[in-house]
Amino acid sequence: MSEALTFKPAAQLSDMLGRGALSSVELTQAVIDRCDAVDDKVGAFLYRDSEAALAAAKDSDERRHRGEALGPLDGIPVGLKDVICLKGQPLTCASKILERFISPYDATVTSRLKAAGAVLYGKLNMDEFAMGSSTENSGFLKTANPWNLTCIPGGSSGGSAAAVAAGELPLTLGSDTGGSIRQPAALCGVVGMKPTYGLVSRYGLSAYASSLDQIGPFARTVEDVAMILEVIAGHDSRDSTSWKTDIPNYRVQLREGKDSWTIGIPKEYFGEGLDPEVREAVEKAILFYEGRGATLKEISLPHTDLAVSVYYIIATAECSSNLARYDGIRYTSRAENPADGVDLYRKTRGENFGPEVKRRVILGTYVLSSGYYDAYYLRAQKVRTLIRNDFMSEFDAGVDVVLTPTSPTPAFKLGERTDDPLKMYLADIYTICTNLAGLPGISMNCGFNSNGLPIGLQLIGKPFGEADLLKVAHQFDASHDFNEATPEL
């Protein structure tokens, strides 16, 4: 009973809570039991406070009994990637340098979820400081793909994706800088969305690359994503890049179908390196949309091939600056017996950062250093303009959404790419452009390969075009039952 319950979409759970067919305490206990039963195998969580979650669930039930339920998320358990602040609980960013850090405040998304009555449960594993594509760069724990425990869950929000796939939580939040929500969603067979840059406040999100980072949800269905996005989106004066825009009722708008979409299919995303089974599943999805009356348009995004280079220059440059704050002075970990002040910085960072963080901070320092700034950083920012222009000119020419595979391959084996950072970077090749251009993107399951591993379909929308993007995604998601499949654990 409890296992079946924790695999239900959040919208169904919300209806059950509303009808009195389920209490939040029952639901939260089922989630806790499920985590107790399977998380030794999956490794999605870095921290769980079951007592606090049950107390929040009890509050939710009491509100509901008084007729004061706060909305559809009231009483629903939600997990946070461990890069998002939750007051009084640890925030490690999966890094030893923050091993004993306790959040002194709530992120804006956290306070919005609390205000909506959500039961916050757990800090989820990730690549250290969100740098990685497999969650193997966590300083603490390996997370397994629930569909095959010898495979990676994707990254960097691997814990957030795996928790939903394993039926441990109905909803989680992650962050996406170059694909860190969409790629693990694809590899774990769940829905994951990166909103437009500026739609969701970054206040209380530990920064990796500030011009690219965006918080977004994981869920079992597109409808569930719409339900939580409504709560977390919207202007926040505490984030100066937060955009002033009206937030529509995304979930209600899903019902307002429209069949006359123009869907752009970029040829650059279907070339060399695309796994044949991934191609086949994505092409089936294209046929589905054609059958529903969509106009398919072959398009070209000619600068796609440059995106990985541009991303790893801009993101590492920004992270070298953002991570300068971890100097051994204010944040928990400090090296012993330094020779002097500078040695304290060097030793603290050398002892506590993992290899990928060191690599990226050093690379970012290099591309910003005197003599190389113009050759790398400035040039990458100019090519970023070209990548953005590629998308905008197609949207101007009538394309509503762009359809691509999310990842060139299904989940690869744990350990397969850890010694080859460049090969690992290429796992993000289909997701990076969206961040560089600031666009919204969503990944959902569109089938399984012959080894039973999920395959992700990505849709990319116009700036602040989340309502349309969700409608197009929902059309596919609601007509297929891929999201009902559950892994054996």
Binding site: R100, I102, P104, Y105, Y197, G198, S211, S240, T241, W243, D305, L306, S309, Y312, I313, S320, A324, I329, R330, Y331, T332, S333, R334, P338, D340, G341, L344, R346, K347, R349, G350, E351, P355, K358, R359, V361, I362, L363, T365, Y366, S369, Y372, D374, A375, Y376, R379, A380, Q381, K382, V383, R384, T385, L386, R388, P421, L422, Y425, L436, A437, P463
Partner: protein, 99 residues
Amino acid sequence: MAEAPSNIDIDYVAGLARIHLTPEEKETFSVQLGDILHYFDKLNHVDVSGIEPTAHAFPAYNIWQEDVAEPAFAPGEALLNAPEQRQNQVVVPKVVEDA
């Protein structure tokens, strides 16, 4: 534009980044970062003349806010995560030379 080098003075850059590296890390990172810089070479073949750089996808300028005092952390909360503290202050190593 000057051709970007495909190797990196790892001691110099790690020094700028304030990261202590072991000899093994220096060796591994030099090779890996060399490969990555070599991969970046493809950017040199793009014509970017006349193209404006993008720092943010949706540039927003001059975000003003009223200067209103709001409740802030009490000293105990602000110092919650300090490695070492004394008299409501973070303790740091001595950084000035003896006279």
